[in-house]
């Protein structure tokens, strides 16, 4: 899911930053409009640490192996904090162990950050229904988790398919990208279930945590 340096042309890399910068500004602006913006920082920090670490936990789904992303969970639990949290997590992943890259930081933050914001809005839909129902929380938690990774995979595939490097056999690379995308479908279900479990658990023990976002 992390696109490394050197894969995308300069125009796409620049477009990634052109989207990521205003998205970050918008997210920070929304955070500052909260009554107490500092209140969400500890949770955002811990979930950024979780985001940073989970990319090391891989799940073998033949013929590929995929790693957890948790951007849907971050969206559901952090709201607008999710975008800067993912941006910071991606920065450290790129600098510390070359997952992704600094030139592709903008593109990668768009691929994983924007779907996280979408997941936040999907999860908020439960407020229109029976907000206190664990079943509704579970359903919208699942949808948030599934949406996060699902939309990320779509963005990832579209960006890569339309920008295959010269020198590579286009058909071979295209098939490899499709295979990797298919392998992410079960992962989306896994992240959906995981997000549902976490949100239902939090609703039981500390329901306030689900309302701050």
């Amino acid at each position: 899911m992390h696109i490394p340096d050197g894969v995308l042309p300069v125009t796409v890399v620049a477009a990634g930053y052109a989207v990521a910068v205003p998205a970050t500004w918008y997210a920070i602006r929304k955070i500052n409009q909260k009554e107490n913006p500092r209140e969400g920082v500890p949770r955002a920090s811990l979930l950024t640490a979780a985001f940073f670490v989970v990319s090391w936990i891989h799940i073998p789904i033949p013929p590929a192996s995929v790693h957890l992303v948790l951007n849907g969970l971050l969206g559901a639990l952090l709201g607008y904090f999710a975008f800067p949290a993912i941006l910071i997590g991606l920065f450290f992943q790129a600098v510390m162990f070359q997952h992704g890259g600094l030139t592709t930081l903008g593109v990668n933050s768009v691929i994983m950050g924007l779907p996280a914001l979408l997941s936040y809005h999907v999860f908020r839909l439960r407020n229109m229904l029976k907000k206190d129902s664990p079943v509704m929380t579970g359903i919208f938690g699942f949808l948030a988790g599934f949406t996060g990774i699902g939309v990320s995979v779509i963005l990832f595939v579209v960006i890569l398919i339309t920008n295959i490097s010269t020198g590579l056999d286009v058909e071979t690379e295209r098939m490899a990208i499709y295979a990797l995308a298919l392998a992410h479908l079960p992962l989306a279900a896994i992240e959906g279930v995981f997000t549902a479990l976490i949100t239902v658990f939090l609703q039981r023990v500390r329901p306030r945590l689900l309302d701050i976002a």
């Binding site: 979780a50 510390m96 590579l168």
Partner: protein
């Protein structure tokens, strides 16, 4: 409330610190090792050790780095070898790609230097130490913002 927050932070911290050492190199970064003899052999793998079987290889010669000198495909063990043109001295770039993932190594040939083996990427120890530092930074940030105000 603060006590519960601190308990939660401590619990998550312990879990995170436990997770890092036991889950070695599981993600889709890539690592390329190479050996230089009469021919150059590379071994490309994801950073969980899984070989990049079937990954595409593109070799760029030092005299024309903008267009490829050779293309090929890694075998099932992620291996690929080629014999460089020794009359072209300088740094040869070997790029490995598969489904948007991959890496590039820069291999110096000639120019008075003796051929040396090498690799891209980090060692497991480097990854564990840097991860622990970064995680501690996040935990410290969380603790800072949960502190009681005087």
């Amino acid at each position: 409330m603060h006590v519960k927050w601190r308990f939660l932070i401590a619990l998550v911290s312990i879990l995170l610190m436990l997770v890092v050492p036991v889950t070695t190199a599981y993600a889709h970064g890539a690592r390329i090792e190479y050996t230089v003899d009469m021919a150059i052999e590379i071994v490309a793998s994801y950073d969980n050790g899984e070989p990049m079987a079937g990954a595409q290889v593109v070799v760029y010669a030092p005299d024309n780095p903008s267009s490829h000198w050779l293309t090929g495909v890694c075998d099932d063990e992620g291996r690929f070898s080629f014999v460089p043109d020794t009359s072209i001295q300088g740094t040869w770039d070997v790029q490995v790609r598969q489904a948007g993932h991959g890496d590039m190594v820069h291999i110096p040939i000639g120019e008075g230097k003796s051929p040396q083996d090498g690799a891209s990427g980090n060692t497991v120890l480097q990854i564990v130490l840097t991860s622990a530092c970064v995680i501690w930074g996040f935990i410290g940030t969380a603790l800072f913002f949960t502190r009681r105000r005087a």
